[in-house]
Every structure is written in structure tokens, then in C-alpha cells.
Amino acid sequence: MGTKVLIIDDSNTMRKIVQRSLRQAGFEFEKILEAGDGQEALDLLGSESVDLILSDINMPNMDGLEFLRQKSQNDDIKDIPVVMITTEAGTDIIGEAKSLGARGSIKKPFTPDQVNDVLGELL
């Protein structure tokens, strides 16, 4: 069975860029799911199983940090690895994301090689 990934970003453009970067980095997924914010992602994870989540932090409605908080309280999804893809490179915000369970971070703008470096350790 192949690997499934969920990309969470309020920007449709960024979701497409992430998908293209994943392909350019050599990753192949059985299925790529998309969500526009944390709440949409939680709703989706109620019916879909994924192996990896790539999430923005700064989003309207439910941001990436709140998504991590709520995910950590749900036994069905709390162990799915999450990598943050964000303009928020500050150690305080990334530190908070990691304390909430994020397994890594990729700073926008990014290259396929940087995606490979971070995801290669998880997949």
C-alpha cells in the first residue's frame, strides 16, 4: 500500500507548489489530500487516513499550532508525523510547534532539496 500525505495551507498556490516540490524531490504518494486550514484538516482526518501531514502555521480560522494542539488530543491521529512548512522561521514559533508534536520544519521559500532533507528522515 502506498503512502498518503495531507497538505494544509490556506494558499491554493502553495499547496500546488508543495506538491510539485515533492515530485521534484523524488517522493511519490498514492494519494495527496489538501485542506485550507486546521479545522478542515481535522474534519478530513475523521474519514481519511494519511501517513504524513505537511502544514502551514499562519492560517485563518484554525492555524497550524491549534491544529497540532487538537490533533495531539485525538488518539486516532496523534501519532501521524507533522512537518511545518512556513514563513515563521523564528525559534519561538518553531519551538512551540515542536513542543506540540511537530517532527520538523521547512522554511518558505524552499527548494526540493530542502524538502528532501527534512522528509527523507521521516519517510
Binding site: 498556490t13 514563513t87 522554511k107 521559500p109 524552499f110 527548494t111
Partner: protein, 151 residues
Amino acid sequence: MDLKSKLIASTQEIFSTMLMLEATPAEQNPQAAFTSNISGMLGVSGDLTGMLAVHCPQAVATGITGAFLGIEVASIDEDVKDAIGELVNMITGGVKDAFGREGLNVKLAVPTTIAGRSFRIDCQGAAGREIVAFTVPEGTFLVEMKYKPLN
């Protein structure tokens, strides 16, 4: 606070990393008229209060969007609005990082995009202004930051 160099460095990093295009800083009279068909804006708060904006003519905005998505884009549509919003988000993120290295904590809002033939953007209480023009193959665009000067 060398804001101009931060705007240039952040913008050029995005173009070279994600768009595979060169954005070359150009001379721009801040008082000169500039026709923008779409502007992306993002507010900042914290140790620096203000707004960063990117102003693009249609040809530049569609060119940037096409380079982001790897497709041909003919006119300003939802993809273009979204792409310019993401561009301003990343430029502001780079500027925030640069301020962070100087010990300033800047918080980002969520980007907004306006498209049309005639609009004016004001930033309340902002007395400081830095504006940098960049040339790309499709033309010139502006990166502007209006801010309340630091105490």
C-alpha cells in the same frame, strides 16, 4: 534599521529559490505614478507596526503566478490573487526573520489581495515608508513597506 536591504534580500531569495527568475532592483521615484492591477498586503505588529505590500501590473502578476505554478496564466484570476498573497506572505516572512536576528519581534497577519483598475491603499498611522522597484522579464513591480517608526 536598513529596511531597504531587507526588502531586497527577502524578495530576491524567493525569486531565485522558488520562481527561478532574477528580480533586479531598479531605481524608482517614490512619488512617481505606478499602475498596479493587483496588490497584495500583509500587516505586521509587535516591535514594528505597519504593512508590507507588493504592487504588480497584470503582466507581472500573471508571469509570477505562471512561474509559481508551472503553467501559462492569461489574466488576473483567483490563482493570481492567491499567488500574489503568498508572495507578500513570504517576503514579509523574510523581513520578519531579518528583524528577528536584530532582536526585534515582529508578528504577521494573514495576507489580503486587491485587484482592480483604480484603488488606493493607506496604512493608518504609518509615517515611515520604503519602496523598492524590481524588474523581471514581464516588467516592473514594487515592494513597499509603510511603518510606524521605532521608538
